[in-house]
């Protein structure tokens, strides 16, 4: 039963959604969809709760067992607690402590992490981006053209540079991307069908 019930829920609801998407009948479009909406709304808080419990458990274990870098877990749990209290007590409108934390701590910290990318890219470009083979040379030249066309100086060098860059993005890039997308799409359809038909059961856990 532990396996059959979740399996039945997935198969039945999966097919309901397939019918909702492809069959424009009133029962499916209105009644079934409204029922689904209410269910999905009620699921979200449980998902959030699960996330919080999982985070607290993981870091509590880390602290209690003094696992490597356990001290940072205090920062994570402290951040969770303080931000939540700030949001619950004073709300999340501008001028509240929650918004202060967001503007003065989360925003600069997140942006700093993302901006490190620029330093790593520059370092990698210098240390590793070499024209070792014809393929690497094509990649290197394409990268230089696209990078130059992305900034105003590109058009000052040559008015054709943006067109060349656009061609690179619209033709070779697009062909490769579309190929990948088609592959991913066909793979998704195959996996979805296997799930709907109960063939693929790995999401239930265990080795079934």
């Amino acid at each position: 039963m532990k396996r059959q019930i979740p399996l039945a829920i997935v198969i039945v609801l999966g097919f309901v959604f397939v019918f909702y998407t492809f069959v424009p009948h009133k029962i499916l479009a209105d009644d079934v969809f409204n029922w689904y909406m209410n269910w999905s709304y009620s699921m979200a808080p449980f998902g959030m709760l699960l996330g919080v419990i999982s985070l607290v458990m993981m870091h509590s274990v880390k602290i209690s067992r003094k696992l490597p870098k356990w001290q940072f877990s205090f920062v994570t749990l402290g951040g969770l607690l303080i931000t939540s209290i700030a949001g619950f007590v004073w709300g999340i409108q501008p001028g509240t402590p929650f918004m202060w934390i967001f503007e003065n701590m989360q925003m600069p910290m997140s942006s700093t992490m993302f901006s490190l990318l620029a330093f790593y890219i520059a370092s990698a470009a210098y240390k590793a981006f070499r024209a070792r083979s014809p393929e690497a040379t094509v990649l290197l030249v394409s990268a230089i053209v696209v990078m130059l066309a992305q900034v105003p100086i590109g058009i000052m060098i040559s008015k054709h540079l943006p067109d060349v860059s656009q061609w690179i993005l619209n033709v070779p890039n697009l062909a490769a991307k579309r190929g990948i997308l088609l592959g991913v799409g066909l793979g998704s359809v195959a996996t979805s069908l296997k799930i709907l038909l109960g063939i693929e059961r790995s999401y239930l856990g265990g080795g079934d």
């Binding site: 909406m37 929650f98 330093f119 981006f129 230089i144 100086i153 993005l169």
Partner: protein, 381 residues
Amino acid sequence: MNFFERLQELDRRWIYLIVALAIIIPLVVPFNSKTYTTEPTEKMYQLIDSYSGRSDRAVLISFLHDASVMPELYPMEIAILRHCFERKIKVFTITFTASGAPIIDLALNRVKEEYPEIKSGVDYCNFGFKPIILPIVLGMGENIATAIDTDAEGRKIATLPIMKDITNYNEMNLVVETSGSAAGGYWITYARVKFGVNVAIGVTAVMAADEFPYLQSGQLTGMLTGLKGAAEYEKLVDVFAAYRDDSHPHGRPFSSEILREKDTDKLVNITTQDNAVFTTQEYQNFLNKYPTAAAILDKIKKVKDGSVMIKVTDLTQDQKDQLGNDAWTALKYQTHNIIYKFKTARIGMNAQSIAHIMIIVFIVIGNIGYFINRKKQNLAK
């Protein structure tokens, strides 16, 4: 160890230092550089602009990102909101990530500061954070007020004045999603296919290549690519939506010809502009409209090359008070000075330009060193 070998072994901390300077200096010392607009940006701008003044059209902006990608995406959001507020276009905002909610508040409040006449629930409405995406995307196709129910301030959507003439995607006809990852996926797959809504996106530059298939197929109406896309949109807003003259008191419609005009560059300077420049006829029209201004402005005006120039910083507070708010606002418009928050993408583009050049120089130097060393090694063998 020769020069090129030393160059190959350069400590990466020197590279970090050079990159840091290349980014920081242009941010601290802004300079004017040209921004060229591209077709995906122009298409998106034109579609949004076509909703101007219509009560039965609205734009939904989906903030699908957290703070990490704000430097690229936030200026886009500011520019789009500013466009909507300038041209009286109804705008809704929503996010499906908890960390997106404060970004919406921040963006709306930053832009709203400059538009005191814009009211929540009347001109814009923030749906806030919704934890699940699919039922909302599909539900709004049937009825927005039913799918969303309450806005971020807890008000019933159905009772808000903004909802007059707005029911579903037939009216809220464009969704703009800003995201640091796969933007627009749900909207293209479900909302566009089932309900025919227009979808446009704003993405970080590294993600743009992934979106070209959708752009080429027409599934995406427009796309803003990274900071450059934001800078392009800022420019379009300054040249058209925020432009004011006698014949265009509420902005002017998009025109490729105007973008190509040489004088257009003067409208989008990011350095501080404190000279209000008029032609003689424009100045006369201004005085006819604000007769009391003549006594003040005639004293400080300067005529150069047939243009009348007034340095607005020369006006004292008393003189500003005598001019009155309307005349003062109109005078400031004539300087085409852009306040900081509406030009951040263009300032950032200067830093990005230098950083790109720097990276290209690094690649070239690195490769020169590599080939010289390889040649030496081959000769030694």
